[in-house]
């Protein structure tokens, strides 16, 4: 397994453990752990056999009927031995032993500039009065492609589930995303792994107890992704979507293509992608059928033509040069642009790329918004911010900085049950979310996970509503940078927000560089 090992301490409290009292009677931890941390010996006694294999997913603690297991980080040396921490030492050993670089799933670890150093300014006497969250309405709707398509996407909430492919995710997890989107009126995105047979109707409706098809209100939207590998793509696939997303890059590995490890390429995945079972599926890092921006404009034009000018065309960008890249997307004819930050996640990526390449999410927004304003496209071409978005608080801040909405990728996985153990790349997700193993997938209930996703989205939307109304607005489109303050110099410098105390923007933002 290519991950940093030995960073967790597994403790079993023998006074609580059923097996310790009655050997052979309980081995739940042995059964649920896909990493063989526990073992049962011939006498029925369970032992912690392999501490080093624990990835910290905590599924054993969750399933333990007596709450007898504790998983704690073993890394207390982060401060005292820096930079030769245990994971760093282990990584060097891994490379020395295998000659291979480290792979990692999920996303960036550690601190990067983020939204936590931004605070929201509530409404008082010098500003429009606050709105009553309990008795007044607040508009959260975002419309994509209103002026360009016959069937624009009308998001009930300003959120979407970003592209997460079948292959990286299990079939059941993809179904749950469609169900969650259907119940909340937001977007589910196929990613580049092709379309599941049930996905197009799961995102709109469900089968009732009499096996009749019922439509969810408000009903969700399925965006199909057009990417560099073009897995499972056909005219029917493109037409099956309520929108088509052209993927340019992603936050976890900008400048690289998709990388689905062979461990996840089952017969079903292989059939959709047209590759041998067990073979790594590598999407190219660039389009073989695009050489310049003119080609990209032509691509948008023929995708509109194939879909009958019915659905919006979206772009997805990685965190590179946000001002120039967003301008290029607008020129190419985008109806919406998702821009993914350094913190964005993935199923598998070289660890050094996930950790060290790209611009943090919060720093992408000012130049991206400035590009849209300079092109006269702000609020027309919708901007969605992805990468480490966790809550309504993050969403509000991103939208007040000028975004039209946000995407929840990792947060959606966590809402489905993930514990962020960062071992997606192993294909042995204990919760069956990022695994193709039938036994692990059987642990995952798509309907229950879909309900959890819908709950998460509704609760997050309520958070956005609370924050919007306490800052004196009844429409998310009225949010502005004036509703925010930076709490430290670094954040004020990066974002152009007014600095608390100083109560002005930093001088270089006032001298024409600001958004």
């Amino acid at each position: 397994m290519s991950t940093v090992n030995g960073t967790f301490c597994v403790t079993v409290m023998k006074d609580r453990c059923i097996n310790a009292r009655m050997p052979g009677k309980c081995a739940t931890c042995v059964e649920v752990c896909p990493y063989e941390v526990y073992v049962m010996d011939g006498t029925g006694n369970v032992h912690v056999q392999n501490y080093n294999a624990c990835v910290g997913c905590r599924i054993c603690a969750e399933f333990c009927p007596e709450d007898a297991i504790r998983i704690n980080p073993a890394e207390s040396e982060y401060l005292v031995r820096w930079p030769w921490t245990f994971p760093q030492v282990e990584e060097i050993h891994h490379k020395a032993q295998t000659g291979e670089y480290m792979l990692r799933g999920f996303g960036t670890m550690g601190l990067t500039p983020g939204f936590d150093q931004i605070t929201i300014v509530p409404s008082q006497i010098a500003s429009p009065p606050p709105r009553d969250k309990y008795r007044e309405e607040c508009n959260l709707e975002v419309v994509i492609g209103e002026d360009t398509c016959k069937e624009p996407i009308r998001l009930h909430y300003p959120f979407l589930f970003p592209a997460m492919s079948f292959g990286a995710l299990s079939r059941e997890a993809r179904m749950a995303l469609a169900i969650g989107a259907a119940q909340t009126g937001i977007i589910s995105n196929t990613g580049e792994g092709g379309l599941l047979r049930d996905e197009t109707w799961l995102v709109k409706g469900y089968e009732d107890e009499r096996r009749a098809l019922r439509r969810w209100e408000p009903g969700g939207y399925l965006v199909v992704q057009w990417s560099t590998g073009r897995w499972g793509v056909s005219a029917d696939y493109v037409r099956a979507g309520d929108g088509v997303e052209i993927k340019i890059g992603q936050g976890a590995k900008p400048g690289m293509g998709g990388h689905l490890l062979g461990a996840k390429v089952t017969e079903e995945v292989a059939a959709i992608r047209g590759i041998p079972v067990g073979s790594d599926a590598l999407s190219p890092c660039r389009y073989y059928d695009v050489q310049d921006l003119e080609d990209m404009k032509r691509m948008v034009a023929f995708l509109r033509d194939v879909t009958g000018y019915r659905v919006p065309i979206l772009f997805k960008l990685g965190p590179s040069r946000p001002y120039e890249d967003v301008r290029a997307c607008v020129e190419a004819g985008a109806d919406a642009i998702s821009i993914d930050g350094l913190v964005g996640g993935t199923g598998a990526s070289p660890a050094i790329v996930t950790q060290g390449v790209g611009i943090p999410t919060v720093a992408l927004i000012p130049p991206a918004v400035r590009a849209l304003k300079d092109m006269g496209a702000h609020r027309k071409v919708k901007l969605f911010v992805l990468g480490g978005m966790r809550s309504g608080l993050d969403a509000y801040k991103a939208m007040a900085m000028g975004a039209d909405g946000v995407g929840f990728g990792a947060a959606a996985e966590i809402a489905m049950g993930c514990r962020a153990c960062m071992a997606c790349h192993t294909g042995r997700c204990p919760y069956g979310i990022t695994s193709q193993d039938p036994e692990l997938r059987a642990r995952f209930n798509p309907e229950e996970a879909g309900r959890r996703l819908a709950n998460f989205i509704r609760a997050t939307a309520e958070e956005v509503k609370i924050l919007t109304m306490l800052s004196g607005h009844d429409d998310i489109r009225d949010l502005s940078e004036e509703d925010l303050r930076a709490m430290d110099l670094n954040t004020a410098a990066i974002t152009g927000l007014k600095l608390i105390g100083y109560d002005r923007r930093l001088p270089w933002w006032e001298n024409g560089r600001g958004s």
Binding site: G229, A235, G262, G274, P276, P284, Y288, D295, F302
Partner: protein
């Protein structure tokens, strides 16, 4: 006699809208379409003849139509085609037949670099020479080159077969020269007969993959 649709100085949307209606009635001829990119996109049926040259992305996402180009085709011919036939009497530009899952592409003249890139099942016949990096990351299907090829022919070949009548500058990673079988010879003879290409199958060489997993093996636990 097929109706003639004059596309000169017209935009893609208006020509395409008219074309979609016209093909339901029977074969259609289009002229003056060299400036239109992405024509005949995603058609499930119909017969279209382009009089003169075509633009880029002709027949993109084609899903059953038959398209004939009397002149030369632009870049990315039949991009991501799944079914149907596209025949070009002249040359094709850069990247002919990328990402195709199926169907047949016949270019009677030469084709550019990156022809048949990521081909996933189409049959692609090139009557003349091809450029560099042809059939890169090909996953399935047949590529037949009557003439010669440039550098890195069949680079990172995964599956499928490349048949070549002329020379090549260099072969790409994961390629293997294999003996032509009687079935291969019969297949090529059929192709040439069906599409009116003058070539002798006996002079052809066959290139296949060396290993099934040329990139990175599924990694074992460290």
């Amino acid at each position: 006699m097929a109706p003639v649709l004059d596309a000169s100085e017209r935009e893609l949307r208006s020509v395409s809208t008219e074309l979609k209606e016209a093909v339901t009635e029977g074969p259609v001829v289009i002229q003056g379409a060299a400036h239109l990119h992405g024509l005949v996109a995603g058609f499930k049926s119909g017969e279209v003849t382009i009089r003169g040259d075509s633009g880029d992305y002709l027949g993109v996402l084609n899903d059953g139509a038959t398209v004939r180009v009397e002149g030369n085709a632009g870049r990315y011919l039949a991009d991501n085609m799944t079914r149907g036939t596209i025949i070009v009497e002249g040359d094709a530009g850069y990247g002919a037949g990328p990402y195709c899952y199926g169907g047949t592409i016949v270019v009677k003249g030469d084709a550019g670099d990156f022809t048949a890139v990521m081909n996933k099942g189409a049959t692609i016949l090139i009557g003349g020479d091809v450029g560099d990096e042809v059939a890169t990351y090909m996953l399935a299907g047949d590529l037949v080159i009557v003439g010669s090829a440039g550098k890195n022919l069949g680079n990172y070949l995964i599956r499928g077969s490349i048949y070549i009548g002329g020379k090549w500058e260099s072969l790409g990673h994961n390629t293997l020269l294999e003996e032509m079988t009687p079935a291969d010879l019969a297949k090529l003879r059929d192709y040439f007969q069906q599409y009116g290409i003058e070539a002798d199958p006996a002079t052809f060489r066959k290139i296949v993959r060396l290993s099934e997993k040329p990139f990175y093996k599924a990694k074992k636990p460290a």
